[in-house]
C-alpha cells in the first residue's frame, strides 16, 4: 500500500490527532515542529496500515454514554473496594461466575474483558474462544451479573453491533 492509495479524510483526521498529541507531549513547545510534523505524518500512515478505517463508525453520543457509564461505575467500584478494605470486617464472599458473552469476538470482547476489572466487584479471569468468560466476584451478594449485562449493552451500542448468540 502506498501513501497515494490512502483514504484522505481518515489520513487528515489521524494526522491532526497525532500532531495534537505531539504538541501535548512536547509541552506546547513549537521549536521542533518540523520533527513533529514528520512524526505525525508517519504515525498517521502507520496507523492506517495497522488499523484501516472501517465503515462502521463509533457514534459520539454512544461514546459519551459509554464513558459516563464507565466512569461512574469505576468510581462506584473503587469506592466499594476501598470501603471493604478499610472496614473492620471486609465482608468478602468471593465467587466465580461464568457468563456467556453475547458480544462478537475482537475489539468489543476485548474492551469488555478489560472494563470488567474496573466495574464494581468483578474481575475478568479467563475468556475462552467460544465466548465464555469466568469472572471473579468479590461478594456473591452483589448484583454483578446484571451489571455486566448492562456493560455489555453499552459496549454493543458503542460498536453498533447486535448482541447475538447466547445471553
Amino acid at each position: 500500500m502506498t501513501i497515494r492509495n490512502l483514504p484522505l479524510g481518515a489520513f487528515l483526521v489521524r494526522g491532526l490527532a497525532f500532531a495534537l498529541l505531539w504538541w501535548v507531549l512536547a509541552d506546547g513547545r513549537t521549536d521542533a515542529w518540523g520533527l513533529g510534523a514528520v512524526g505525525a505524518v508517519a504515525a498517521a500512515a502507520a496507523s492506517l496500515r495497522l488499523l484501516p478505517p472501517v465503515r462502521r463508525r463509533i457514534g459520539i453520543a454512544a461514546l459519551v454514554r459509554f464513558l459516563a457509564f464507565f466512569l461512574w461505575n469505576s468510581l462506584r467500584g473503587g469506592l466499594q473496594v476501598a470501603v471493604m478494605a478499610l472496614r473492620r470486617r471486609p465482608g468478602l464472599r468471593p465467587a466465580i461466575l461464568e457468563i456467556s458473552l453475547a458480544l462478537p469476538p475482537g475489539a468489543p470482547r476485548l474492551l469488555l474483558v478489560n472494563a470488567i476489572t474496573l466495574m464494581p466487584g468483578s474481575l475478568g479471569a479467563r475468556l475462552s474462544d467460544d465466548g465464555r468468560l469466568r469472572v471473579h466476584v468479590l461478594d456473591a451478594r452483589l448484583p454483578v451479573a446484571a451489571e455486566l449485562r448492562a456493560l455489555e449493552v453499552h459496549i454493543a451500542r458503542l460498536f453498533g453491533v447486535a448482541r447475538g448468540g447466547a445471553s
Binding site: D27, P94, N114, T117
Partner: protein
C-alpha cells in the same frame, strides 16, 4: 479556588491509594487483592492526575498529565487480567470466605 480544588483532588487520590494498599495487605488471596489494586489505584491515579493538571502551568502540560490516565488504565486492566488468568491456569483456587451467610 483552584488551589483548593487541586488539594481536594490530591487528597481524594491519596485516600484511594491508601485504601488500595490496605486492601492489598488485608485481602486474603490473589484475586481479591487484584480487585483492590486495580480499582482503587486507578481511581487514586485519576484523582492525583486531575489535581496536578489543575496546577499545570500550560494547557499542554495539563493535557499531558491527563493523557497518562487512560494509558495507565489500559495497561493496568490488561496486566490485571493477565495475572488473574495466569493464577487460574496455575489452578490457584479462590479464597471462599469464612463468614456465615
Amino acid at each position: 479556588m483552584i488551589e483548593f480544588a487541586s488539594a481536594a483532588l490530591l487528597f481524594i487520590g491519596a485516600f484511594f491509594y491508601f485504601a488500595g494498599t490496605v486492601g492489598l495487605l488485608r485481602f486474603p488471596d490473589i484475586y481479591t487483592r487484584l480487585h483492590a489494586l486495580a480499582k482503587a489505584d486507578n481511581l487514586g491515579l485519576g484523582f492525583v492526575l486531575a489535581g496536578l493538571a489543575l496546577r499545570a502551568e500550560t494547557l499542554a502540560a495539563a493535557l499531558k498529565l491527563l493523557l497518562i490516565w487512560p494509558l495507565a488504565l489500559a495497561a493496568s486492566a490488561a496486566v490485571t487480567y493477565a495475572i488473574a488468568q495466569r493464577a487460574e491456569t496455575l489452578g490457584i483456587a479462590p479464597w471462599r470466605g469464612e463468614e456465615e451467610p
